[in-house]
């Protein structure tokens, strides 16, 4: 705050606060106006930054910035030209127009929207109750539709000086983004402070405030910041990846298990041998539980909304085989594993199931242990020739959604991908080239340090090793870089075959892979994770498990596993909350020798990462850093607030006064010294009676005090006890009538108005004030003073 406060500061004169505010402290209104406008911009920037985060993922940043810029420009131009009501109408029109366009783009059609206003309402409600913007199908268009109205209106109102009102559109916009969970804590905080500052500075502008009133604003700031940090009332969104990673769904299996709308990418992971479910199926398959189309750089999101399952889903456009599977949950399941693509679902969960816009079935209730369901899937049988011939004539809805890449993907990534797929001529060849490249060039490892930026990029360009999530993510993004529609899917690998088309699927089978779209065929799965490497990593356990499993059917296998479970790795057991005692059989696996069996098609061994380590690791890394930085920031903010508060309460002046009363300080020019001595005397008087009014002369003040003192004394004599007490404390009320005070006053007048004083006279005045001050020292002075009072008793009236 480098605003010129003039040559006076409030502390310099004890009674002067109000004078300074009126006379000198008033800051040029334009300064405050600039601050207020800047604050509006901060608020605007806060929610535009959230929108920009969306466009960064789905594209359209330039359009967004252009729209925001245009809105600001139009508002600036129109600020003087149109009336607020017109501006409001304009903003509403802009909003309505934008959203009409959005609905058009989303394929809903504005006419249909008008017809189903209740659906529209429920959409808005869904958003407002925490659906992230990125999950919307047309998130980019929505963003562009959303931006102009609040930007325009708030800037327009701010330019017209309606600061408080200008906060409303911006605040509503920010609030909405907070409710969707997209605005992170920091952004929300910054936006809130911007809003607060706008109102504050706006008030100061319109009321002709003074610099001294800024401290109140500062106190408010500090309170808001500290409160927001101590209680995280803002739902943390994707802007805060560490929080997302540390939470349960951040683990791979956790993500698969609960099938959330977002799938984070973790660092180190662990395995869980617990049996999840068994499948009876005529064909082995990967059991898919989630499909993700949108990549933000550090997590996968599923766009679009869930529709309730109402029988028979769409079948793939090409040839397919119908495969029926019966799945029995062996532990509580939050997902519906199916062989892609599911077309029909039967069983108790069918009523509650929902279907994503990507054709994946999701349960709304948890599947209990032992519950069963039957799925009919249309399995696309990949054959090289037809796929090779498929061409690139993709339907629009496929290219719209499955080619998305974060805008900030580096060109290096694209170049590298182009290099790798140099020889490929068809999408199939591209996919195979990438698959092969990843399989051969990267090592399989569950111990991975999570990259901080774009995961796909980091994996392709920097990292040496990773696990399925990294492979699948990189491959999907690489395919998209080559304009091949692809998506990231998660689920479980086939599991352990236990005879008669039955497969036991464990936690360690959790997996992620890639699906590539071929026109006239549909989605075909690809496996970029090297199966052999994966088996090397946990070969022993898997091989042993398989042997055991082969002997028996699933139940005995589970029973065995249960018996030996306790002897197993402690971590694994503890990590797995849903672990049932009867399930996994790992100890035997441990004992057995490593066996190199694997077969790309029906590999049992896929990593079942368990993120306990991840969580710990992340915590271990982040906590000291965050605490350190946050603590410092918090301390700085607190200090700032306290300082401002002290300033507000005039405590600095108070302290200076209290010290100044008793200590004169360095002596200089006699006249100045006398003036300072008189100031100290005035502080004493102010403490005892009241401060001097601005219009009161020094002499007039003293005379008024004497009169008032007498009046108070006579009131005390009137008999009221409190008044008497007061009169007693003011027993030293003689201060106003003390001849020494009068003497100092005359010295002061001569110094200021007369011809000045000699050194000796100045010293005399200082000493007198020192003496008077000492007499008023809280304890020492009291006793000494009462002595003096007694001596003076006989008529020393003055």
């Amino acid at each position: 705050m480098s605003i010129d406060t003039g040559d006076s500061s409030p502390e310099t004169s004890p009674h002067g606060r109000s004078i300074r505010l009126d006379a000198d402290g008033t800051v040029d209104a334009t300064t405050f106006r600039l601050f207020a406008l800047a604050s509006v911009l901060v608020l605007t920037a806060s929610y535009v930054s959230v929108l920009r985060e969306v466009t960064r993922v789905v594209g359209g940043t330039q359009s967004l910035l252009a729209i925001v810029g245009a809105a600001l420009l139009v508002a600036t131009v129109l600020a003087r030209a149109i009336r607020p009501r017109t501006a409001g109408t304009l903003a509403i029109l802009a909003g309505v127009g934008g959203f009409a366009y959005y609905f058009e783009a989303a394929g809903i059609g504005s006419r249909a929207v008008l017809g189903s206003a209740d659906e529209l309402l429920s959409d808005a409600l869904t958003l407002a109750t925490g659906l992230p913007l990125l999950q919307m199908i047309e998130a980019g268009v929505w963003t562009l539709a959303f931006a102009p109205a609040p930007v325009f209106l708030s800037w327009y109102l701010a330019l017209r000086g309606r600061y408080a009102l200008s906060v409303v559109p911006g605040g509503v916009a920010l609030l909405f983004l907070v409710l969707t969970g997209d605005a992170g804590t920091t952004v929300t905080l910054v936006g809130t402070l911007g809003a607060l500052a706008t109102v504050g500075f706006g008030e100061l502008t319109s009321r002709g405030g003074s610099i001294a009133q800024l401290d109140l604003l500062a106190v408010l700031f500090a309170v808001v910041i500290v409160l927001s940090l101590s209680a995280t009332f803002v739902p943390s969104g994707p802007a805060n990846p560490t929080t997302a990673g540390a939470s349960d769904p951040g683990t791979l299996e956790g993500a698969i298990d609960s099938s959330p709308e977002r799938s984070g990418i973790a660092g180190d992971v662990d395995l869980s041998p617990a049996v999840r479910f068994t499948v009876e199926s005529e064909r082995p398959s990967y059991w898919r539980t989630g499909v993700y189309d949108r990549f933000t750089g550090d997590e996968w999101l599923r766009s679009g909304q869930e529709e309730p399952f109402e029988g028979q889903l769409e079948t793939p456009p090409g040839e397919f085989n119908r495969v029926e599977q019966t799945v029995q949950a062996e532990s509580d399941l939050g997902v519906v594993p199916v062989a892609p693509e599911p077309v029909d679902l039967d069983g108790p969960i069918a009523q509650d199931a929902t279907v994503s816009s990507h054709g994946q079935v999701h349960p709304t209730t948890t599947l209990r242990e032992g519950e069963r369901y039957t799925v009919e899937s249309a399995v696309v049988l990949p054959q090289r020739e037809p796929l090779q011939q498929a061409g690139t004539d993709y339907p629009e809805e496929i290219t719209d959604h499955y080619l998305q890449r974060p805008e900030d993907t580096s060109s290096e990534f694209d170049e590298r991908t182009a290099e790798i797929t140099d020889d490929a001529e068809t999408p199939l060849e591209t996919a195979i080239a990438i698959e092969q490249y990843l399989r051969t060039s990267k090592e399989y490892s569950l111990e991975v340090e999570r990259p901080t930026d774009n995961v796909a990029e980091a994996f392709l360009l920097e990292m040496e090793e990773g696990y399925c999530v990294y492979y699948a993510t990189a491959m999907t993004q690489m395919l998209r870089a080559e304009d091949v529609p692809a998506r990231y899917v998660s689920g479980y690998s086939t599991g352990e075959p236990v005879g008669d088309d039955t497969y036991v699927v464990r936690g360690l089978d959790a997996h992620a892979w890639v699906e590539v779209y071929f026109p006239d065929h549909g989605w075909v799965a690809f496996e970029p994770t090297p199966p052999s490497d994966r088996n090397e990593v946990h070969g022993e356990e898997l091989e042993q498990a398989r042997e055991d499993g082969l002997e028996d059917v699933d139940t005995p296998a589970s029973a065995d596993a249960a018996a030996e479970d306790p002897s197993d790795d402690g971590e694994e057991t503890t990590d797995d909350a849903t672990d049932e005692p009867e399930q996994p059989d790992d100890d035997e696996t441990n004992e057995s020798e490593p066996n190199e069996t694997d077969d790309g098609g029906d590999d049992v061994g896929s990593p079942a990462p368990d993120d306990a380590t991840t969580g710990d690791d992340a915590d271990g890394l982040t906590i000291p850093v965050t605490v350190g930085r946050e603590t410092i920031a918090l301390a700085a903010v607190l200090l700032f607030g306290v300082v401002a508060g002290i300033h507000r309460a005039g405590m600095a002046a108070q302290v200076r006064r209290s010290v100044g009363c008793y200590w004169h300080g360095r002596r200089g020019e006699p006249d100045r010294d006398v003036v300072r001595a008189y100031r100290r005397l005035e502080w004493l008087l102010a403490d005892e009676y009241r401060p001097r009014c601005p219009g009161e002369s020094a002499r007039g003040y003293l005379e008024a005090l004497a009169t008032e003192g007498r009046a108070a004394a006579s009131a005390g004599a009137g008999g009221e006890t409190s008044a008497t007490a007061k009169a007693e404390t003011h027993g030293d009320s003689a201060l106003a009538t003390d001849p020494r005070v009068r003497d100092v006053l005359e010295h002061y007048e001569r110094a200021v108005y007369g011809g000045g004083l000699e050194r000796a006279e100045a010293d005399e005045a200082i000493e007198t004030v020192d003496e008077l001050a000492r007499e008023r020292l809280p304890f020492v002075g009291r006793s000494r003073f009462s002595d003096r009072e007694h001596q003076k008793e006989p008529g020393d009236g003055v």
Binding site: D7, S13, V675, P694, G695, V752, Y753
Partner: protein, 330 residues
């Protein structure tokens, strides 16, 4: 129409060649004058003090009051106390300027014109009911007040020193009077009101007037020359910069808060009055209190407000209340 209480004073003498009076002498002289006047005038100490201050501060006084409260008596007592000539002009609607300033009269014996000085040639001139005369006549007096000289038939004549006008104006019959133009009001240093005495004072007054009027027994307590020297002393009372700034702030306040605020002539008058008050208190420098005590009588009649609810007095008291006495001194 004019009545001369004492012979016109002899030729004026410049006071510059004389020693100034010491400040304590000024204090005692003014105290003596006030004391002396109070033998005749019962109560009204503050008004007497203001008149004395105007006398010392080279100003003129306008008494605005109902008839019969002792305006004339006040003026005469003052004149008598300082051993000065006292002249009185009773303003009437048919009074001519020459009746105030004097005329050239043809002397049969010497066969030439002689100047017959008008009543304005006195040390203390009482312009009674000044608002009854037409503006032309009023201005003859007012010009003399401003210039300290009178021009008759092309010949300019100096007025005696000290020259103080005490004008009265009748507040009772406003429809038969010519209100003083605002510009001319500005020439009076102070406008005062005597007001009725309180019962005790009035009975005291009645007691004194039985038998010989006390004014007849009034003796001068000082000489005209002493007074001139005292005025010289007062003119040199120190006015520090903070005081000048304070006066400027006060004037500025009136200009901001009224249609017509205090003119620079008004601020000069205020400073002179403050100097004179410092002098009467035996102080060689003006303090803010001097300014504050003089401001109401010096400034109020120079202010014109727009609304009827606030007159000049209100503006001045508001100014005194809210204008800071001191800005930062350190």
């Amino acid at each position: 129409m004019t009545d001369v209480n004492s012979p016109p004073s002899p030729t004026q003498q410049s006071s510059t060649d004389r020693d100034r009076l010491s400040i304590s002498a000024v204090e005692s002289v003014s105290a003596e004058i006030q004391d002396n006047v109070s033998r005749v005038i019962v109560g009204h100490e503050d008004v007497v003090e203001h008149v004395v201050i105007a006398l010392l501060g080279r100003g003129h006084v306008l008494l605005d009051d109902v008839p019969g409260v002792g305006k004339t008596m006040l003026a005469r007592s003052i004149a008598r106390s300082i051993d000065c000539s006292f002249r009185r002009v009773q303003f009437t609607p048919d009074l001519l300027p020459a009746d105030v300033t004097g005329v050239n009269v043809f002397n049969e014996k010497s066969r030439e014109f002689e100047f017959q000085p008008g009543p304005v040639f006195g040390n203390v001139v009482l312009g009674d009911e000044i608002n009854r005369a037409p503006p032309k006549t009023q201005s003859a007096l007012l010009e003399a007040m401003e210039e300290g000289q009178v021009t008759v038939d092309g010949e300019t004549r100096e007025l005696p020193a000290p020259f103080t006008v005490i004008a009265t104006q009748n507040a009772v019959e406003p429809n038969r009077t010519y209100d003083l133009p605002f510009a001319e009001l500005d020439r009076f240093m102070a406008k005062l009101q005597l007001g009725y005495p309180d019962p005790a004072q009035e009975s005291e007054l009645l007691g004194r007037t039985i038998g010989d009027h006390p004014i007849d027994a009034l003796e001068p307590v000082t000489t005209r020359e002493t007074l001139v020297r005292a005025r010289e002393t007062v003119a040199n009372v120190r006015v520090a910069k903070p005081i000048r700034e304070y006066v400027t702030r006060l004037a500025g306040y009136t200009r901001e808060h009224a249609r017509v605020g205090v003119s620079p002539r008004g601020t000069i008058s205020l400073l002179r009055a403050a100097q004179a008050r410092a002098g009467t208190n035996g102080r060689e420098y003006v303090i803010p209190d001097d300014v504050q005590l003089q401001a109401p009588v010096v400034l109020a009649h120079r202010i014109r407000t727009e609304d009827r609810d606030r007159n000049g007095d209100d503006i001045v008291s508001a100014a005194l209340e809210s204008v800071p006495v001191e800005t930062d001194l350190e």
